[in-house]
Symmetry: C2
Subunit: 219 residues, 2 copies
Amino acid sequence: MREIFDAELKQIGDDLVEMATMVHTAVTQAGKALLEADLQVAQDVITGDHAIDALHRTLDERCVHILAQQAPVATDLRIVVSALRMSATLERMGDLARHVAEVARGRYPAHAIRATAEPTFAGMATAAAEVAHEVTVLLSTRDVELAGEIEKNDDVLDDLHAQTFATILSPEWDGSTQEAVDITLVGRYFERFGDHATSIARRIVFLVTGDVDDGPPHD
Amino acid sequence: MREIFDAELKQIGDDLVEMATMVHTAVTQAGKALLEADLQVAQDVITGDHAIDALHRTLDERCVHILAQQAPVATDLRIVVSALRMSATLERMGDLARHVAEVARGRYPAHAIRATAEPTFAGMATAAAEVAHEVTVLLSTRDVELAGEIEKNDDVLDDLHAQTFATILSPEWDGSTQEAVDITLVGRYFERFGDHATSIARRIVFLVTGDVDDGPPHD
């Protein structure tokens, strides 16, 4: 019985790593689509989100099945409940990557982000890709040291998010309202992406160390 | 055993109704704070969000406890797992109401929304308050007819959201970039609020009728 249970728990862990890997690819491509105004890549992210959603549903069903069949308690139960939550969070991160790609597609063949704001968004795209990679490794290795790195990259995203507002609200800003809207939304998508990564990091730290999880960061 | 379980399930249901009631109050007040530039009301929403977060944590612990103690299966299990998810969704709806209030507070004593866009946001505030009320009643009565009303109000929110962009991107728009940013963000908050309400409605319909739940609306 325990062997079956362990195999099922391992499968749940593997699914989470696979979802995180897909989210990492999605956000990396979304950043590329945005910064290079690459329609094909944008389209790939948008289409690819269905696969993330499908894995999310599979994983959730697997968690409900394990709850029903194995009636886990204590730490085992927390692992399954956490997996349900992290699956939902990863699904949402996939949505946010898709939203970035949708903005890129919506402005094609123009660039959604004008040259003055490009360095900020290049920084956001890099930090978001890093944070997604770190989440993948954290889920795979449970190396809680990585949680610190994730929080750091989330801080970078928050700082860059503040910078996007500084850019469009400065007296030098002479972009269109459409550009201001796009910067506002894409900045928000990346910032939320970082928040979600942090919430996963805190859940893993809680599972591994038992340190109090304050829940998702207060956004 | 079954009696204890039923009492615990009822408590979970009651907590969800209480959370939804708090969210309804929060979004109603957030709309008022936004449209009337009322600092005190905005502050109430922001402070009050802690109570929603606290109830969210209590409810989650209750769900985990019931999973551990009662090892529910079949429909009972789906009810508890759905409660976990709806609790997270309601917590997020509370955050979104708080974000609207934060924008109102940030612009005080000015109005965040200029007169030309006010009717649109008055409509969004009304639809969001209605949808929150409908969610409260749906959670309390399980009257699935209400799910249709929620979807309708969500459509209203989507239409009004599109209208916010039409306003700020029209040639007649002569507002500041700050105003465009505020409209973009607050419009997004209300629109997401509606999405979350719809996701709760679909979960309840699924629990009551067994009709396939496609998960949260594809945002």
